[in-house]
Structure formats: structure tokens, C-alpha cells
């Protein structure tokens, strides 16, 4: 039988994957994908806790829904930023965006 711990382990691994992507990738869009993975991992956590630790109400799912919504907003804005950056700087590799650095 699947315990809470299994879901939490899964979410930890997905979070780690997302973190690796954020820290390591050069492409701005890839970084945003990593962020989505991390948010999803958090969601798995929330829903799992809802089922196993506090099943009386649906609070965890509410929280998860809000997170999904906000993730969508954030993805939209972030990708808009990537587009804008590409238009003026001709690149989306974050290590090449150093116009403001000395």
C-alpha cells in the first residue's frame, strides 16, 4: 500500500529535478520549465497531505488550485519577458544577458 512517504519522496525527486534545471540551464525558457516542475512538486505535496493528514476538508486541494493558477500567471509573464528580452538583446541565454553588468 502506498503511504504518504512515497508521495513525498516522489515530490522531493521532482523538486530536485526542477532545481537542477533552474540552476544549470542556459536557456531562459528551460529555466521557466524547471520552475514549473518545482511548483508541480509542491502541488503533489499539498494534495498528498490533504488526503493522508487532513482528509476532512479540501483545503490542500484549494491551495493546489491556487498554486496552479498563480503558476500560470507567472509562466505567462515570464515568457513575455523572455520574448521581450529576445527582441532587444537577440539572445535568450541568460549568461549572455549581461548588458547591465560592468
Amino acid at each position: 500500500m502506498v503511504t504518504l512517504a512515497d508521495y513525498l519522496v516522489l515530490s522531493a525527486v521532482v523538486f530536485a529535478l526542477g532545481l537542477y534545471a533552474v540552476v544549470t540551464r542556459r536557456n531562459g525558457v528551460a529555466i521557466l520549465m524547471g520552475i514549473e516542475l518545482m511548483l508541480n512538486a509542491a502541488n503533489i505535496n499539498l494534495v498528498a497531505f490533504n488526503k493522508y493528514a487532513a482528509p476532512g476538508a479540501v483545503q490542500g486541494q484549494i491551495f493546489a488550485l491556487i498554486v496552479i493558477t498563480l503558476a500560470a500567471c507567472e509562466a505567462a509573464v515570464g515568457l513575455a519577458l523572455v520574448l521581450a528580452a529576445y527582441r532587444s538583446l537577440e539572445t535568450i541565454h541568460v549568461d549572455e544577458i549581461n548588458v547591465m553588468r560592468w
Binding site: L19, V22, V23, T24, V94, D95, N98, R101, W102
Partner: protein, 608 residues
Amino acid sequence: MTPYAWLIPLLPLLAFALVIWRGDRLPGRGAYVSIAGIALAGLCGLVLLGETAFGRRADLTYQWVVLGGRPLTVGFIVDPLSAVMTAMVGVVASLITIYSVGYMEGDPRFSRFFAYLSLFQFSMLFLVLADNFLFIYAGWELVGLCSYLLIGFWFERPAAARAALKAFVTTRVGDFSMMIGILILFLHTGTLSFSGVFHGIAAGRIGGPLLTLAAILVFGGAVGKSAQIPLHVWLPDAMEGPTPVSALIHAATMVAAGVYLVARTYPLFVQSPGHEALTVVAYVGGITAIVAATMGVVEDDIKRVLAYSTMSQLGYMLMGLGVLGYTAGMFHLITHAFFKALLFLGAGSVIHAVATNNMKEMGGLARAMPVTFWTFLVATLALTGIPPFSGFFSKDAILLAAYAQDRTLWLLGTIGAFVTAFYMGRLTWYTFAGSYRGGGHPHESPTVMTVPLVILGVAAAVLGFLESPFERYVRFPGVEAPAPNAPLLAVSVLVALAGWAAAAAIYHWRLIPSAALRRYLRAPYTLLVHKYYVDDLYGWVFLKVGGLVVLLAGAFDRYVVDGLVNAVGWLTGRLGWVLRFLQTGREENYLLLIFLGLVVIVLVRLVR
């Protein structure tokens, strides 16, 4: 006069200040002011002599400064020892200063010479009247400075400049030893004044081997200043200075300061267990007496012969003090001051006339310079100990004390007397007898130079008769002069006459030509000419040691000092290189650091 004894050194100091500041515009280009300064001081010294002869004593102390709760008292002492020294210095220095007016005539730095003379006179009087180690050390250093200035007076001559430096550095070694000795005494007795230290010794604050060590270290200063072996190397070279300087500083006064020091600090030596310190003093003096005399035999420079003679006679004085002949040693110091000053002034008169120091180029000057010759002869007879001149009385007092204390030293002294008579005879015959071998026109010196010669000559002749009053006057409690021993006196006179005879045989009647002697005694002759290779030894040692020090210091500076500095720089560079990544301006680096920090914190928390 006694309460105002502190004025005596100030008179020549004032003269110095005046002459160095406005020398050329003063009457006589500063000479008269200088003479006035020392003559007045000499007069006061004679008054002091009179007063102390009638039992007057004084210790004029002033509290100078409070050091850490303990007051430092300094001052001047008036007692027979300091009074007789003050009078001697005053009289002899006055005569020499008057003589210098004639000798230094025409010299471009005439007034400065007299300024330096006055400064020296101040320093010497200050030294002699001091009642504490601080003042005597200050005076010690000051006379050393004046010696440097005056030896190197004609500094355009490289030999003179080198000689001045050699004198200063060599005496510095002695001064250093003296300072260590003074510090040991101060450490144990808590005071620098002579009376305080002597009370401390009597109270047992310092004694045994430590006292002997302190005494020997203080004696080290005397070894340097009085040119005893092993610090004797500077005195012959010091003859580069003008002859009045040689007369004043290196015959009568400064070199005598070493003997004075031993006499003044006599309790140190007497209280050292088994008289060990006294034995050291006596043997250093005795060995120097004979070794210096032998070196004087082969010199051709008239002043150098006299320099070795001075060295030798100072050895006699120290030997006298060492064999508990306190009065004898001091008496010889006084008589020696007069006849040695006379010898040097006479030599100066000769040099002034024939423009050379080399005796081989002189001769027949007795007829050309009668006053010089007769006064010189009186002084020579005094030096070699021929009665009734003063040297006979003083030197024999020493030999008498030596015979009573240590036969070996008496033997050394007697052999030394033979050699002394020999080299002085040699000098006299070379310089004054025969016919003139040089190229100039020798003539008698001007009156301003001959009058001091005559005055000194009279003193050299008659001072010996003042031996008994002197014995009653300058004494050390508990030390008695031994009874006169007629056979001993006869032996001394015979030995001196034998020396004269030998000199006559070789240099006057040419019974044995000196060239032949040089050939047959080649090995000893070479040894003596090279001054027993002591100078060479010192030079080699210091070159080697100095070279080693230079090598070590250089290596240390390059590898350790520079190495440290370079290492700091290198380290900073590496550290900067490593820490660069904290501030790249790139988000991904910062994010990584955040999560890395998180991991580290959790791990640390887990480990604890």
C-alpha cells in the same frame, strides 16, 4: 672653591661655545678665549688641591629626576683623587693650549681646533669630578667624541680619517663592556652613585663572582680607553692627529682616564674575592707594559715610539694599581702626564722644524734646537727612571709594590724598564745626536712653544720629590705602600742604565750596527714590525665575521622578509581568485549559492 667645584668644567665649556660660534672674530682667533677658559679652570683646580690638602671634602649632589619612584641623584665629588686630577689636567692642558698657538699657526681651521680642545677639556674635567657612574660614563663618551674629532682634525688625509674611526670603534668595545658592568652594579645596588654602590657592596648586595665580573667589565672600559692589550690597536694610529692632540689626549689625560677609573672604583676591585679582579688588572697592565715596549723598539716614526711608550707606561700604572700600589699608580699617572706631555711637545717642536716624523731623516738637532733638546732630555731621563727625576720615584714605587705582591710582575716590569731605556735611548740618539740627515733647515721653535716645554721640564724634574706628601694625600684606606727597599732601587737604576748603554752601543758608538741586528734577529724583528700581527688578526676576524653576517642578513632579507611579503601578496591573489565566484553578477551563481548554503546549514544542524 669646593662648593663651586661644578664651575670648573663649565669654564672650558663656555670657551668652547664662544669659540665654535664666533671663533674667527674673537681675539687671537679664539685661541686666547680657549686659553683663558682652561687656565682659569687650572687655577681653580690648584685652589681645590690646596683646600683638599687641608682636609676639605665635598660631595655636591643634585636630585636630577625621579625614575619610577626612585630619585636619581647626580653630582660632583671633591676629594684628593679628583682634586689632584683636576689640577693636573688644568695645568698640563693650559700649557699645551698655549703651545698650540705656535704649532697650529697658519692652519685654515685654527679656531675650530681650539674649540675642540676646549670641548675636550670640559669633558675630561667633567669625567674627573663625577661622583656617579652616569656622569663618568657621559664624560667617557664625550672624551671619546673629542678624540675622534681631534684625531681626524686633518680629515683630508685618509689615514687620519681612518685612524679617528678606528679609535672610536675600538674604544667603543671597551665602553660597551663598561656599560654592562655599570648596569650589573645598578641592578644589584639600585643606585648609580659611587658612594651608593660602595655601600651596597659593603652591605652585601653584590659580591663574589658577580662582583668580580662587574669589576672586570668596568675595567674593560679602561682597557679600551687606556689602550691596553687587546684593545690597544688604536693608539699608534691616533698619532695622525696634530701633535698637541697627541700630547694632551693620548699621553696626559684621556688615556689616563682608564687608570683614574680603576682608582675611583677601587672598592670594586678590592672587594672582589681573592683579589681576582685586581690580578686581572695587574696582569693586563704588566703584559701591556712589556709588549708595548718591545713594539716601540722597531718604530721609525718618532710619535709612534712615544705612543708605544705611553701604552707601556699606562700598563705600569695599571699594574701598580693591581698590586695594591694605589698611591704608586696614581703618582706615576701624575708624573707621567708631565714628562710624556713634554716628550710629545718636544717631538712636535722637532717635527715643526724638520717637517717629517721619520727619525731616520733627523739627527744633530741638539745643536740646532737647544731648548727643545734639553727639556726633551730631562723628560727622557724621567721616563726611563733615572734619579733624581720624577719618573724614577713613581716607577720604582710601582716596582716596589709589585715585588711585595707578585714577583712575576716585578720581573716583567724590570725587563720592561730595560726595554724602555733602550728604545728611548735609540730615539734620542737618532733624533738629536750625530749630524743632520734630512733636507730642511732645522731651527729652534718660537717662544710660545718653548716656554711650555721649559715649564713642563721643571715639573718633570722636581715632581718626584713630592712623593711623600703625595702618599699622605692620595691614599686608599687599608692599602699601605711597602717600605723602601734599597737593593731593589739599585737594581732598577742599573737596569735602566743598562738599557741606555745598550742603546748607546748600537746607535751611538755603532759597536753593533743595527742593520746587522736586524739580519740576525730577523724573525723577532718581523714579528715586532708587524705589531705581533694583532691588527691583521682583527682585520681578518672582522672581515670573516662581517662577511658571514652580511651573507646571513642578505639571505634572511631575501627569503624570509621578502618571502613573507610576497607570500601575503600571493595568498591574497589566490583568495581573491577563489572568492570571485561570490560576486559574478550572474543569477544562476547566486541561486546555486543559496541552495548550497541551505544544504550546508541542514548538514551542520544534523551533525551537531
